[in-house]
Amino acid sequence: MADASIARASDQVASEGRRDRSSGQGSFARVAGYTISRAIALFITIVIGVYATILIANMGGYVDEIRSAQIEESVAIGVSQNPEYRSLTSAQRQELVAGIVEVERRRLGLDRPFMVRSFTYLTNALTLDLGRSEYISSDRGSRQVRQVILERLAPTLILFASANLILFFVAIFVGLFLSRRYGSWLDRFVIALAPTSAAPSWFFGIFLILIFAALLGVLPFGGMVATPPPPDRLDYALSVLRHLILPVSAIIIGAVFITIYSWRTFFLIYSSEDYVEMAKAKGLPSNTIERRYVLRPTLPTIITSFALLVIQLWTGGIVLETVFNWPGLGRLLFQAINLFDTPIIVASVVIFAYLLAVTVFLLDIVYALVDPRVKVDSGGAV
């Protein structure tokens, strides 16, 4: 018991210290301070996370071995095919190969101990300076991993931003609507559909492709724009929109029912609070009650749950993009797996870690904006 109370006491001291520092400042400063401290904490988290990724990627120097083998093979082939070296004896040729391999290994830094290299890898990974890919090149023809990744980032962001925004607002409005009509057949129907969210989005994607592309033929099987891409800007945008419908629907169908179910429950819990009854007794219009008395206090909880949901959706998107041939990061990772393109695979994992962290960070800011405890007292919410 003693250690626990000490811990609590120290917590209290710490939060009091923070309160002293922040007293007399505006709520903007508190939100900004909260945001900065979260950003720093998340950056440290990212560094640790990326380092862990590198350790897993190079468990026991396995990747290094693969790369050494590749170097040896390519050098050996290069030497054997070069007519200048044809006159050499096999012993001389082996010596030459060994020499070139050694230089090449030193050039790539493979001769240094792993712990030293891992920190070089870490800084490289954090700046996405991951060298050159082995097989995959970007549409502009670059082999730079950073170029390849950045080129694929935009389609992924388009797909997920639109899907998540629609998902968020649909779930909030339907959730509020159902909490008002709690127990109606519509409510029961949506709740009965909640278990469908056990399946990932690509799973629904297959069915959507089957129905709308294969059977009805009204929407494309996949891809981001029609081939050949329309020259006109407006036509191009419309074509992208047409290709967006199915993957976005798949993401939404895959997550919307469970989200509505859990948010509706939050709304119901908060609408049974005494102050809501009080507001009803005062005769406030139900719109106002919903917005100010139910939605407002529920938002922090909802944002936390949304953050966890988006994190799940990010990783689920890899297969979704593959199923829909969407030229984003997920499909890049899929292609990299098939071609065994080590730098791209590692870089994809790193960029996904970044995306998750940015998601968490953005939602943290929104959280700070909607949670009054952050504005009033920075100690309370953290």
């Binding site: 250690d3 396995y62 009965a192 294969a214 797996i337």
Partner: protein
């Protein structure tokens, strides 16, 4: 324990829970049936088998129940083997050391569609001089079409469908269509008794020929076949025990470890708790699927290695925060203080006092986790990182997608494993949702 039983009784009041339990039970029976009828080693042999195992099944055949729909009368596979019926073969001495072996392989064909392929396999016994055989196709209306001549080796497969000269003689139609087409209406098959006549000559004493005709159908078995002629039923059956085992083990592994870590963190508090919290935050931004993909590509695709990685990465999952909140309440209860008073050690308090108290809260989330992991395995398989040996539902979907089943209209190939995944997923999810309402009193009235 009594409370657990009472809660389980309350579960029977939810119709969705009963449906869910029924589905889960049916799946367990299905899995048990799979393991009993096809032993593990046999399943692997069948799934990895090539032409030796699946020589006689058609490629990409639909399930046989397609014929139950009105208007469908697609051919099934027909095999006629001279070894099975001695009446099909006649031997006649023609001269010194020269014997004519006449094999007639008749079969009934009363289907609307055409077969997928035609194969004749010969088995010949001889010492040095290779027997000769001449093949003729006899249609129900009495036309005789020469197929070709062969000088036989010990075993020889004559793929009639791939004979381009025959195709040209049949007016450019593939042999499996041209040989069956009705002369009056070439788009339809002629019904009746067909016959393949193989007239052989053997040049030695004791030499012999056997022949087997396989008319590959368009439908096969309960589940159909894939691009490698494998009966999908093997994978559909064996996918069940694998999915159940994987989902269950992953869910057990992650929830129990998470719970222990959360309990330990709350009990010891201070640095331990803070460290656990920070690790959880790092773990939250580690992308699970890309890491699994990395492990799958670099190290091992074995389903058990992947399971281990999932459990390790799942230890510090976001659930720790939920459990922590509950444990913080439990820690303040008087019976924990009583336990301390009589001198119980840390381990005893964590494992005998705190964790049992939280188990009821954990049951629903545990059950809802199972389908998540079942689908995770399928997800990896769809990415081409499925277990290299075992047949799983995800691998069937992966095969179907890479072979373009949706573009080619082979919907059964995708739908069968997908429906099974859906059934197993929804079964567990239904039970989990009902359990959630029973065990979490806050939700019970809602």
């Amino acid at each position: 324990m009594k409370a657990l039983l009472r809660n389980l009784k309350a579960l029977t009041q939810f119709p969705s829970a009963i449906v869910g339990l029924g589905v889960v039970f049916a799946m367990v029976v299905f899995a048990a049936y799979a393991m009993i009828t096809i032993p593990y080693s046999e399943a692997i042999r069948l799934w990895r088998g090539g032409d030796q195992v699946w020589g006689d099944t058609p490629r990409n055949a639909r399930p046989a129940w397609f014929n139950l729909f009105p208007g469908n009368n697609l051919p099934t596979t027909i095999r006629v083997d001279s070894r099975h019926d001695p009446n099909l073969k006649t031997r006649q001495e023609v001269g010194e050391e020269l014997t004519a072996v006449d094999i007639r392989l008749p079969f009934e064909f009363r289907y609307d569609g055409f077969p997928k392929e035609l194969n004749v396999t010969f088995a010949a016994q001889f010492e040095a001089r290779r027997p000769n055989v001449q093949m003729t196709w006899v249609t129900p209306d009495g036309r005789e079409i020469r197929l070709g001549d062969l000088t036989l080796r010990a075993t020889e497969t004559f793929r009639i469908s791939q004979e381009s000269r025959l195709e040209r003689r049949l007016g450019g139609r593939p042999p499996e269509v041209g040989l069956f087409a009705n002369p009056d209406d070439p788009s339809r098959a002629l019904h009746g008794t067909y016959e393949l006549r193989a007239e052989g000559l053997v040049f030695e004493e004791g030499a012999d020929i056997e022949a087997k005709l396989v008319v590959f159908g368009q439908v096969h078995g309960l589940a159909g076949t894939d691009h490698r002629r494998r009966d999908l039923m093997v994978a559909l059956l064996w996918g069940a025990p694998i999915a159940l085992a994987f989902g269950l083990l992953a869910a057990v592994g992650t929830t129990i470890t998470t719970m222990i870590i959360a309990a330990v963190g709350v009990w010891f508090g201070g640095i331990v708790d803070a460290a656990i919290q920070r690790v959880t935050e790092v773990n939250l931004i580690l992308p699970l699927l890309p890491i699994l993909i990395m492990v799958g590509t670099f190290y091992s695709r074995s389903i058990w290695v992947i399971l281990g990685v999932i459990i390790v990465l799942g230890i510090f999952s976001a659930n720790i925060k939920t459990y922590r909140a509950i444990f913080l309440q439990v820690k303040q209860t008087p019976y924990i203080e009583a336990a301390r008073a009589y001198g119980a050690g840390h381990g005893r308090i964590v494992f005998r006092y705190m964790i049992p108290r939280v188990v009821p809260v954990l049951v629903p989330s545990f059950v809802t986790l199972i389908p998540t992991y079942v689908f995770l395995e399928a997800t990896l398989a769809v990415l081409g990182l499925g277990d290299p040996i075992l047949p799983t539902w995800g691998k069937v979907i992966n095969d179907a997608l890479t072979q373009g089943a949706l573009f080619r209209g082979q919907y059964y190939w995708v739908l069968e494993p997908a429906l099974l995944l859906m059934v197993i997923g929804f079964g567990f999810a239904l039970v989990g949702f009902a359990l959630d309402r029973v065990f979490n009193p806050r939700l019970r009235d809602l």
